[in-house]
Symmetry: C2
Subunit: 455 residues, 2 copies
């Protein structure tokens, strides 16, 4: 029974009904030419027959009803694949809207701790004949970046390759996920489970405090209070859409800024319009926390390593002119002083939380005297496939990340590049962020405005 | 903010991920003659427009993340009907099997405590053109019998009546649910929330002990240990099927026993075959706990009152002869000595639990020295409509109850009469009760054997 590193088990400890700790991904596919009416049925059957299940996808908490049991993984000897891999359909009229509605529901429910912590949903019934996969995995097993990599590892740039493994499989022999940390935890933890358990609250406080140690005083804390920085419920809304990378690239070139600056300006414009619509735009500009991957290139091939940095970005939402907003954002991103160095995904999450009640850490050390949130929203740009990808002959049209929310951060925008597109996934608390899907319209408007300004 | 009686709030306290505390009902409908392709769409729209939401369906725990908040109900001022009433579809081939699979998943997930504690799912895509409704409501709001009554109250025996309210509505003016207990709790609790809260664990112990007081010594405790009497996980399987009441009636008349005796004999035969198949049939006969409603006739019209008695029934599963089993069951049911009088649904549940960890009552007082479960399974026969019923012109083909499970009771059979049929709903722990749906086949065989024996 391998011991769990504290950075993994913590995601089990801090999970509540209001804060499910899984990440998700929605993939949209066009069926291969000549796919018959039984295509999905036989696809499903062939995936179920595929016996290769990565060891990570066989792990469950050793004692699911006992916090002590969160410290070790057990192998599920009788994996019930039929439970984890589910077949679903969209109701009429089978638009993307119905797909997003279903994804929202799935992203809202807790994973069963008595089983390996993942689900994959195969979705039929899109009115344009396409199909979708929604995958969900617990943050204790994989962070969002690794989860997206895992999905990508099942794809191929060859439309004729028919050996694509299921989302829970892998092409090569199964790899240990996080070589060093796991081994380290094993050494540390093997003889001292009780000690490790006793250390959990202290360890968490440390994880949180370390993230703040150098920053408590220097953290600019200029972020205004917004409707997004509130306590949240358990229900989620998810929205997703793709935009051509070329449109973003042209704006970036014309304005002499980075593509990521343009993406942030799209988000800034959309957030401004949304908040105006909700009569909730604060006078001060919104601040985004923008995670920056610190993975080395050598890591890139595998879902491993978890060091992340983060920039605080002034989104310039107080400016009505899109070009001015873009300039503010670009300057803010170029100002490297506000860099958090080498955070773990756990620390990133803790940074975004107003309240981690299960740990008795409410408010967090660094927040004790803060009346305003350190930032208003997390906007992540996660690396995706650069080429057009395929999965057993089906064309990948989109791959949209669904994120974790915590009290204090009711909205998250995560995007990824996918061939010639940028795929945006927006996750929000269903109660705190009404009409979330309108952000898609506003993103579209924001890009058009930036193009107009840069013409 | 009305105070919650302890018997209600207890269902919030004892709920865990492994023990969701909601009851469910699956209704199967044939569309009215001449229903067009847009029938379900317009049905859904008309139900969403129906503004009448019973006050019960607007209640949520006052402070969902705080146990103190479980003691009072709050009214949800901005009920998000679109969240509670969901539209879903079956994947191909759209058989009853796919419907049961989907129902199983829905019955496994926790309700959102930030919202009124119910969901209704409208299901399209059955290959025979029918449609279904799955309704789910928290036990803190309504026990299973009341939930079934609420569903029935929306039906009519007139196929032409088109004024059927949605499952969350009512025909008449909204009624207070439990007149006396609520008022009593209000009086008791109004000035003493803290006192009531302090009393919760004591109160629970009392609720549990009272149920056992007279019975700890007399409880026969002849039930063997079986695969059903184990700790459970959170995932469920649900199976359902109808049998003609006339077939049961004929056997009862021929054998000179009650119809309920025949139903219990069907269950006994099915359980025996299932356990043989699983190589898990104990030598001693299984004992069923059979709840008996003690509602007065005056209560019958309304979803109110919760007094229930219970018989312990020897299921005779050690006998291979169906006629002998029926005789054993009939004698056992006629033996009134083992009657529990006036239990609440909470006590019934506590009786069936090996372990109520959140209350620190593990094992329960009465169980301290018991090495064997007091009974093996709960089999409930709940009153249903005697006539063929309709809902806005659609014919009700079946109404199948889905129950609550607790540690120690991994399987539950609840049935109801519905016009000319008996509708069985079987709820099981997905891990502990493999191939649950085979119990349907075995029930069918058991009835055929009883008919053969009674010919």
């Amino acid at each position: 029974m391998p011991m769990m590193p504290v950075t993994d088990s913590m995601f089990l400890f801090i999970e509540t009904r209001e804060h499910p700790m899984h990440v998700g991904g929605l993939q949209l596919f066009t069926k291969p030419d000549g796919a018959g009416p039984d295509y999905l049925k036989s696809l499903r059957e062939s995936l179920l027959e595929n016996s290769g299940v990565r060891s990570l996808f066989r792990r469950r908490p050793a004692r699911p009803v006992n916090t002590r049991g969160y410290l070790a993984w057990a192998e599920d000897s009788e994996l019930d694949l039929d439970y984890h891999f589910r077949h679903s359909a969209l109701p009429q009229p089978g638009r993307i809207r119905e797909l997003l509605e279903l994804t929202s529901r799935w992203h809202s429910t807790l994973l069963d701790r008595h089983r390996p912590l993942w689900e994959v949903h195969l979705v039929e019934g899109l009115n344009d004949g396409r199909f979708a996969l929604y995958s969900k995995i617990h943050h204790a097993l994989m962070d969002g970046v690794s989860a997206l990599r895992q999905l990508q590892s099942t794809l191929s740039d060859d439309p004729l390759a028919m050996d694509g493994p299921p989302p829970w499989g892998s092409r090569g022999p199964a790899q240990p996920r996080r070589g060093r940390p796991d081994a380290l935890a094993l050494l540390r933890g093997a003889g001292s489970t009780a000690k490790q358990l006793a250390g959990v609250p202290r360890m968490t406080a440390k994880v949180a405090t370390e993230a703040f140690r150098e920053h408590t005083l220097t953290l600019p804390l200029q972020a205004p209070r917004t409707m997004f920085n509130v306590a949240i419920g358990g229900a989620r809304r998810f929205a997703a859409q793709s935009w051509p990378l070329e449109r973003v690239r042209k704006v970036a070139t014309a304005a002499g800024v980075s593509r990521n600056d343009v993406v942030l300006a799209m988000c800034a414009g959309a957030l401004r319009d949304y908040l105006i619509e909700q009569r909730a735009l604060p006078d001060a500009p919104l601040t985004a926390m923008v995670p920056v991957s610190l993975r080395s290139r050598a890591d890139a091939g595998e879902a491993s390593g978890n060091q992340i940095g983060a920039l605080l970005c002034n989104l310039g939402t107080d400016r009505s002119d899109p070009a001015e907003r873009l300039a503010v954002i670009s300057r803010s991103m170029a100002d490297g002083k506000r860099l958090f160095k080498e955070l773990t995904p756990l620390q990133i999450l803790l940074l975004s939380a107003l309240n981690i009640a299960p740990l008795g850490a409410s408010p967090l050390p660094g927040y004790a005297n803060h009346t305003r949130p350190p930032f208003n929203i997390v906007i992540s740009n996660v690396p995706g496939p650069r080429k057009q990808m395929y999965w057993n002959g089906a064309t990948l049209d989109g791959i949209y990340p669904a994120s974790v929310l915590l009290d204090g951060q009711a909205l998250n925008i995560t995007l990824t590049n996918n061939g010639d597109n940028l795929d945006f996934g927006i996750t929000g608390c269903r109660r705190s962020v009404p009409h979330l899907q309108r952000l898609l319209l506003h993103l579209d408007t924001a890009l058009a405005e930036l193009e107009y300004a840069a013409r």
